[in-house]
Every structure is written in C-alpha cells, then in structure tokens.
Amino acid sequence: MPRARRVESVFLNIPYDHAFEELYLAYIVGLTQLGFRVHAALAVPNQGRLATIIGLIEQSKFSVHDLSRVEVSRGVPRFNMPVELGLALYRSHVTKGKHRVFIFESKAHRAQRSTSDVNGIDPQIHRGTPKGLMSALRNIFRQPGDVTTVPQMLASYRAVKRRLPELRRNAGSQSLLAAAIFRDLTVLSLIQSQQLIAERT
C-alpha cells in the first residue's frame, strides 16, 4: 500500500457536549472537505490530558478555537476552551507565528469582551449555524483553485447528518462525541467530498 501523503492538520478546540453537536459535525465536515486532518481532544483520558492536548497542538499547523460557549454552565464558567486557546497562542509565539490561531464566536464583539487579551485576532462569527460556520471557515481557508464552495460543504454536511442514526447504531452510542464516530465522520465527509469532485469533473 502506498504511503499516505502529508496532510495539514488543524487542532479543534470546541465544547464537547450534546448541545453543540450540530456545529461539531459542521466543523468536522467543513475542515475535512477543505483538506485538513482534524485533531480533537476526544476520548483523551483525564490523566495526562493536558500533555495530550499540547501534543495535538504541536502536531497541528493551525488551531481553531470556538469561544461561543464560554458562559456559565451549571453554575460554573467553562474555562477549557480559553485554557486551550492560551496553549495554542503560546505555541504560536514560540514558533514565531508558524502555528496559526483562529477564534470563532457566534456573536460579534463578544470575544473582545470575554477574552480581551486576544483583541489583535479578529474572530470569525458563525452565528451558531452550520451555514455561518462554513462561510467562516472558507473566509480563512482556501484550496488551490478555490474549488469547494459553501453550498457544497453544506450539502455534504446534510448528507453526513442523514447517516447519523446508522453511525450511532453502529457505535452503540447516542453521542456523536465518541472517538469511533469521530473517525467515521471524518471518512464519511471525504467519501462525500469524493462524490462532489466526481460530479465536478
């Protein structure tokens, strides 16, 4: 079997909970269709978790941090996303900007208030919708020839979403956040992407 080509990686820092599943799926489909391998801190055990996350950031050229859910959850503010953003910003600093950091938010101007230290980075605003997210991803990442469009990304998102019941049945899990489903979603996005490429040519 021929050795796999080098694929650019992106570290994905998002809230992993049921309420965020739609955008989680949109991130996986969108980033994969743009040509990335997505690194996510899924199924990382608590022991050594920080070291694993640092390792994933180091393996990635880019990192995407979604700060749209930093509000209080069950009486406690969610600090995981800002902590991981801090790690990535330090990585960017020590690599002299080779590691690129992107911030995503659902509301304009909120990140500047919640995390004012990063005022130099313009957040991408997705308005909490898959369409907004795809547009935001495409604002910052392009393929040579700019071939993948937002409608195509959304069509793939919907196509993969329709297969979720079967994926959940296969994995014996109701949650999309299981590590096995994450791998399935990545490969399904590419199968769909291949179909789109075949239709284009």
């Binding site: 796999a4 743009l34 393929q143 993948t148 079967e166 990545t186």
Partner: protein
C-alpha cells in the same frame, strides 16, 4: 483578514482511513452507508404553531357540543 491556502490536495478516504488507523472493512462499510439512499424526513406539521392553534380550536368546539 489573511486567507490561507491549503497546500495539500484533499486526501482520499483511503488515505485518511490509513492515517486514522481505520480498517479497510470499516471503510467499505462507510462507503456502503454513504451510497445507501436515506429518505428526507418530512417535518410533521402537527407540531407547528398553526397546527396547535387549529387543534385548540377543534378541542374548544368539541367541548361546546
């Protein structure tokens, strides 16, 4: 805002499966899942606001009689 061009072409499903350590059998299963047509789910109108209003009216009418 700078735009970053991704240098590598989009990997094939086979390449990604290999990178992720996925078995060829699982890849085949996923291809099958993706090629099986799934019907669109039509949204039931009975849950809509108009339908609820209409149901309430009907219910009131029944009570009167």
């Amino acid at each position: 805002m700078a735009v970053y061009t991704i240098t590598n072409p989009v990997p094939t499903p086979e390449e990604m499966a290999e990178i992720l350590g996925m078995s060829p059998e699982r890849l085949q299963t996923l291809r099958k899942i993706m090629s099986t047509p799934v019907p669109y789910k039509k949204r039931s109108r009975s849950r809509g606001k108009t339908a609820r209003k209409s149901a309430a009216k009907t219910s009131r009418r029944v009570k009167k009689s």
